[in-house]
């Protein structure tokens, strides 16, 4: 079965690229472009209405909220606490990195710093170590 990746990202060109690249790499992709949608999805996962993704790629700057709030929401409940979440963002500051680490992020990736092949490798590696 294809690994499921939930991408929380709002930049349209980036979404198009990721959708294309990750589905070709053999992942099942779903994109949510608002923090609120991500929060709702977490609720549905808690209630058992939706399946857990194998990995969440979380952008930090979303139109309606900070990505860290989504991470906090996930870590708050036992059902979503152990979800594998990578911050995949172009925003980084020592403060935000510290906060992400405190909130239990699994990895922080700066989008622009990796080639697509490198990203796919990192994700495949991450999916192996469940």
């Amino acid at each position: 079965m294809k690994p499921k990746i939930l991408i929380i990202e709002d930049d349209k060109p980036t979404i198009n690229l990721f959708e294309e690249v990750f589905s070709m790499a053999g992942f099942e992709i779903e994109v949510l472009d608002l923090g609120q949608k991500a929060i709702e999805r977490l609720k549905e996962i808690r209630e058992g209405k939706k399946e857990k993704p194998d990995l969440i790629l979380l952008d930090l700057i979303l139109p309606d909220m900070n990505g860290i709030s989504v991470l906090k929401e996930a870590r708050k409940y036992p059902e979503t606490k152990n979800l594998k979440i990578y911050a995949l963002t172009n925003y980084s500051s020592p403060e935000s990195n510290q906060e992400l680490t405190n909130e239990g992020i699994d990895k922080i990736l700066i989008k622009v710093q990796y080639s697509l092949n490198e990203l796919i490798e990192i994700i495949k590696e991450g999916l192996k170590s469940k």
Binding site: L17, K111, V112, L116
Partner: protein
């Protein structure tokens, strides 16, 4: 009799301080709450005075009034603490309403005969139920202290000091009043020191006022100076009329005139100094604001520049990999490779710029590790050799034995790389030689080329850090966009505690760029 004067004096001063602060802070809630509090303290002091020296009403009645004013006063003090701590009243709505009702009930109970206190020929008897009165005072005191304590811990600078002043005044007042009303009567059986209350209250009023008007203290200094000069001036003016001797009259008049001149300058200097101080404080605040704004701007710039570059780089990578089919036209393919290189250049320039700015504002720090700089330079030489060979230039590294140093490898590499790259760019005949030596506990690396060279004026420009200044000179020197790499090198070396300087025999005689780094041998 002196006792009475002291009390009247403190009553007057409390009121004046209240009025003074109110006039200064008229537009803010703190000002009006402080005035109300000062008025209550004034009234409380007056009623306490009459309790000790009863007129119009009996001492018993004055005691009831004093106790009522104590409750009103401490309630108002609590409100004042909330206001000055910038807490919304809404947050304390329910406790405030409850305590207001409780206070009003206690005050009413005080006036219902025999409910809380009882008159027994000037010996006032407190009933057990009046413990509620002390409980209420205790709750107000504890809450007020807690709020102030939290604020003093959480805030810094002026706000912290403000909370501390109030806390000290408040604490001192509570301790002294408890001593006067509880411990001293219990220990000595005498209540004769109760009259000291207004004087301790004056201390509280003073410390609160000081906390509020700290901002205006420099102005207060001017007022004090004016008062001082005025008092001495008036004395000197009256003196000639009191002195019988004519010569002394003349002398004191001359002294008075001289003092007028001196006084004028004294006031002027104090005034100017206080203005300067205010201006300096304002600038410091402004600077802090700007630094914060710059920081925010950089973070947002980082995000906005990187976002479109991610798909640009990503799609180019995929096109060149042949994901969308093979590109048959070699010209298109060549141009695409060119675009990919430019996107990478843009990316590294942007990251470099953000990196330098991040280091400057302290948002990024050096990643120090053990580094064999000789190997690092050799790596750079190998990387840039094809570029040099393309222009038929030699590129040499005359390696000496160098210590292992704690350096940020990537940034030092970038710094040296840019200098060598520039040297190759600006040389058309001959080549580039890199040498290194240890001198004065510094590692010195020289990158010498046989290129276009720099004249004295250009070197001065460079040394003064005018790399990015607009003007003919800079254009001539670095051309558009060329200064960027050099600027990165300078900043990276600077954050390592080192510096870059240049030497040249003049136009056409080549240039040597020096890097000096302090050695931190492990």
């Amino acid at each position: 009799m002196q006792k009475e004067y002291l009390i009247l004096f403190s009553i007057l001063i409390s009121f004046i301080i209240g009025l003074f602060v109110y006039l200064k802070e008229r537009n803010r809630q703190t000002g009006s709450h402080f005035l109300i509090f000062a008025i209550i303290i004034t009234l409380w002091s007056i009623s306490l005075y009459f309790y000790n020296n009863p007129i119009l009403l009996s001492a018993f009645e004055w005691l009831k009034i004093t106790l009522s004013l104590t409750i009103v006063g401490i309630f108002e003090l609590f409100c004042f603490i909330i206001v000055i701590s910038n807490i919304s009243f809404k947050k304390f709505k329910i406790p405030l309403i409850i305590s207001f009702i409780l206070s009003a009930t206690i005050i009413l109970a005080l006036f219902v005969s025999g409910l809380m206190i009882e008159e027994k020929s000037y010996l006032m008897m407190l009933h057990p139920q009046s413990a509620i009165f002390f409980l209420l005072l205790f709750i107000y005191g504890a809450f007020g202290t807690a709020i102030l304590f939290e604020r003093s811990l959480k805030s810094s600078g002026i706000e912290h000091l403000q909370a501390m002043y109030i806390l000290v005044g408040f604490g001192f007042f509570i301790i002294s009043i408890t001593c006067l009303n509880v411990f001293i009567p219990l220990l000595t059986g005498s209540r004769e020191y109760l009259w000291l209350g207004p004087i301790f209250a004056l201390f509280l009023v003073g410390s609160l006022a000081f906390a509020i008007i700290r901002y205006y203290l420099s102005e207060t200094r001017v007022i004090l100076m004016k008062l001082f000069v005025g008092a001495i001036g008036t004395t000197l003016l009256i003196l000639p009329f009191l002195i019988p001797s004519f010569n002394l009259k003349i002398l004191t008049t001359i002294i008075f005139l001289l003092f007028c001149i001196l006084g004028y300058y004294l006031i002027k200097i104090t005034h100017e100094e206080s203005k300067r101080r205010e201006e300096a404080e304002r600038l410091a605040r402004e600077w802090e604001k700007l630094a914060r704004a710059k920081n925010q701007f950089l973070l947002s710039l980082q995000h906005h520049l990187r976002t479109p570059l991610t798909p640009i780089k990503g799609y180019l990578e995929r096109i060149l990999e042949g994901t969308y089919g093979r590109e048959e036209n070699p010209v298109i393919k060549e141009k695409l490779i060119e675009i990919k290189k430019l996107a990478d250049t843009l990316y590294s320039l942007m990251e470099g710029l953000l990196d330098v700015q991040g280091l400057k504002v302290g948002k990024r720090t050096l990643n120090l590790e053990d580094c064999q700089i000789g190997n690092l330079i050799e790596g750079i030489v190998e990387e840039l050799r094809p570029q040099a060979e393309q222009k038929s230039l030699y590129l040499k590294f005359e390696r000496a034995s160098l210590p292992t140093m704690k350096l940020d490898k990537n940034r030092i590499r970038e710094a040296i790389w840019n200098l060598v790259d520039n040297a190759i760019k600006y040389t058309n005949r001959g080549g580039v030689t890199i040498t290194s030596k240890i001198e004065d506990e510094k590692l010195k690396i020289a990158i010498s080329d046989t290129g276009i060279g720099m004249d004295k004026e250009e070197i001065d420009y460079f040394l003064q850090g005018k790399l990015f200044e607009r003007g003919e000179m800079t254009k001539k020197l670095y051309g558009p966009g060329r200064g960027m790499g050099l600027n990165l090198s300078i900043e990276f070396i600077k954050t390592h505690g080192g510096k870059i300087w240049a030497e040249s025999g003049g136009r056409g005689k080549g240039t040597t760029f020096w890097i000096g780094l302090p050695i931190k041998v492990e």
